[in-house]
């Protein structure tokens, strides 16, 4: 029995569907057909078979590491004991298959008591290979360490991966995952964090490119006082499917979670899915949680699904709330800006810029801020002209 399962048992059995039994055994996970709760939004036909039995091989991406001084980045064998230390147990077939198929793991370690300046960046360049790659990474911030780790995905590839995040007691870690893929990429990522006593994790998911990008981020707490901030920013273009599934499992008292995901959608069949699950267990007294998802639909033909879900098993909480919105441009905002002489195109650009701006600032990674702002601008530039002509038609 793994440590994680033992721990779960100690916490007492949870009946919630939010807590499916995980398994490392691929065959314990049936091939999804599309009607399953966890797959019902995902276009299985476009997954190039990775949810079924398509083979994995190395070489889907080339990895480039820029480690900040004081951070060690190494590759270990697949049987290294570091794998699984976050408590990740695959709860779906893709994650289980990636776990079984990965031939090694990238381990990023921030030593105890060290505060790291600058970000450690791990770039994955898709090679265009038609064979899927299975990735595995473990990011460990040891006790009282502080650092920022950025994962960047670009180019063309089919990738399934498991990213484990271990934030030890008192540590303060920021992990940013940027999906800036080419139009044809498929990326299914399972990212799981274990947050220690009085530790802070800021997890950021940024998705721009890719044909299908599905990110599952889950977090659990290894002690009281831990805090998770999960931020997300996405921009879905014509034909793109971008899906984020979050699950914060409040397994310890006095823990906090704050989830804010914002996305813009434009073009025919641009689709975004956001599932925000929060479970507050019996033993999680005095916790605070808030989750929010906002979608801005820029053109006809794009649509978003947004499902917040809060399950509370204790009455002793500090605060719990959620908000979810799918909206179009606000006429009042556009009118106000235009009444100052600003053209409709420019007004829309400003509103979208503003929509993301607060979030970009909250990410708090200076190296990234400018790049994100300019990528948002570039995405808008792609479509804003058609957007205006459509509006006037």
């Amino acid at each position: 029995m793994t440590a994680a399962v033992q721990e779960a048992l100690e916490l007492g059995k949870v009946e919630s569907h939010l807590h499916p039994e995980g398994s490392f055994d691929v065959e314990a996970h049936e091939v999804p057909k599309g009607r399953e709760e966890i797959w019902r939004f995902t276009p299985l036909k476009r997954l190039k078979g990775i949810h079924d039995s398509a083979p994995f091989a190395d070489g889907a991406t080339k990895v480039e590491v820029e480690a900040a001084t004081g951070v060690t980045v190494e590759t270990v064998a697949a049987d290294d004991a570091v794998r699984g230390t976050s408590g990740l147990v695959p709860t779906d077939r893709v994650s289980a298959r990636a776990w079984a198929a990965s031939t090694g793991a990238t381990v990023v370690r921030i030593p105890t008591d060290t505060v790291i300046e600058g970000a450690t960046v791990i770039r994955h360049h898709g090679t265009g290979s038609q064979t899927a790659g299975a990735g595995h990474a473990v990011i460990v911030a040891e006790k009282f360490a502080k650092a920022t780790v950025v994962l960047v995905f670009e180019g063309s590839a089919i990738v399934a991966d498991n990213i484990e995040i271990v934030v030890e007691d008192g540590a303060d870690l920021t992990v940013v995952s940027v999906q800036d893929w080419a139009d044809d990429a498929v990326h299914l990522s399972t990212q799981h964090a274990k947050v220690g006593r009085d530790a802070n994790l800021k997890h950021v998911s940024v998705s721009f490119g890719g044909d299908v990008v599905r990110h599952d981020f889950t977090a659990e707490y290894a002690g009281p006082g831990g805090s998770v901030e999960a931020l997300g920013l996405y921009f879905a273009d014509a034909g793109q499917h971008i899906e984020h599934r979050l699950f914060v499992d409040h397994t310890a008292p006095k823990t906090k979670s704050n989830v804010v995901y914002k996305g813009a959608l434009q073009g025919e069949k641009a689709h975004a899915v956001w599932i925000g699950n929060v479970l507050i267990r019996k033993e999680a007294e005095g916790i605070e949680t808030y989750e929010e998802n906002r979608n801005l639909i820029l053109t006809d033909g794009a649509w978003a699904d947004s499902v917040p879900n809060l399950e509370i098993e204790t009455g002793e909480i500090e605060g719990a709330g959620h908000a979810s919105a799918i909206g179009r441009f606000d006429d009042e905002q556009l009118f106000y800006l235009q009444s100052r002489g600003i053209s409709e195109t420019e007004a829309k650009r400003l509103v979208v810029h503003g929509f993301f701006n607060d979030l970009i600032r909250q990410i708090g990674v200076p190296e990234l801020e400018e790049k994100l702002t300019s990528t948002v601008e570039a995405e808008l530039a792609k479509n804003i002209n058609t957007l205006i002509t459509k509006d006037n038609a």
Binding site: F335, S339, G341, I342
Partner: protein, 252 residues
């Protein structure tokens, strides 16, 4: 020079039970350099008049004309109207989250003049305008109207009037929600604007108290979607003394 001519303007809004006529034939000419006050009870259509002139999409023009120096205003898009010289200070200024006042003002000024303002004088001008309205310079870094108090929103509108320098200012209840000190500050700002060459003002208000600080050339009483009576500043004094009753009872 600019003359705004409103002739027999009729405006309706879409409601659940179909179109509802709000403006029932408004005729008004405002010449260059003049200040007109429009006074009327709640719901009489004052904001509708202001929004219709500015081009808010919610309102449907069903009849009449609006021209600025002979140019058809109703044919213009909202930003074209601003470029033609119109400015609307709103009764309820809109929040634009994530867009800083500085960015907003610079974008607007650039759009209006066709070129980016010179950096050195620009910062000075913006800070000066903020200062005149007793707004802290840090306001420039805040999101447009977000978290502003009612009074701050109004002072921010007048700071914009100062900076954007239109020919024609429509001020919709600029005095509502202001305490007496803020009212004085805002009135001073409006009077500074009026002191500039050829500026026209349409001052929409419910109360007479702002008219103690801003002396209009003409006063119009607005009731049930049309002008019930026009006169000089003495008409405002009558309203101050007797209220709208004489006009509202006549309109029914």
């Amino acid at each position: 020079m600019s003359t705004l001519e409103i002739k027999d303007l009729r405006v309706s809004v879409e409601t659940e039970d179909g179109a509802k006529e709000i403006l029932k034939g408004v005729t008004l000419t405002i010449n260059s350099g003049e200040t007109h006050a429009i006074m009327g009870p709640n719901g009489s259509g004052k904001s509708t008049l202001a929004y219709s002139i500015a081009g808010h999409p919610k309102y449907t023009i069903t009849g009449g004309t609006v021209t600025l120096d002979g140019e058809d205003v109703l044919e213009m898009s909202v930003d074209e109207r601003a470029k033609a010289g119109l400015f609307l200070a709103m009764q309820y200024p809109v929040e634009v989250p994530g867009v800083s006042v500085a960015n907003f003002l610079r974008t607007a000024k650039t759009a209006l003049t066709g070129e980016a303002p010179k950096l050195r004088t620009w910062v000075k001008d913006v800070n000066g305008a903020m200062d005149k309205m007793h707004l802290d310079p840090t306001f420039s870094q805040r999101s447009v109207n977000e978290g502003f108090s009612g009074g701050e929103k109004k002072r921010h509108e007048i700071a914009q009037l100062d900076i954007l320098d239109p020919a024609f200012a429509l001020l919709d209840e600029i005095d509502s929600g202001l305490d007496i000190d803020a009212l004085k500050v805002v009135s001073e700002g409006i009077n500074d604007f009026r002191a500039r060459e050829g500026k026209s003002v349409l001052l929409i208000t419910h109360y007479t108290r702002i008219l103690r600080y801003i002396k209009p050339d003409h006063v119009h009483v607005f009731v049930a979607g049309r002008i019930a009576e026009s006169g000089g500043p003495d008409l405002a004094e009558e309203l101050e003394a007797n209220g709208y009753e004489r006009f509202t009872s006549a309109a029914v």
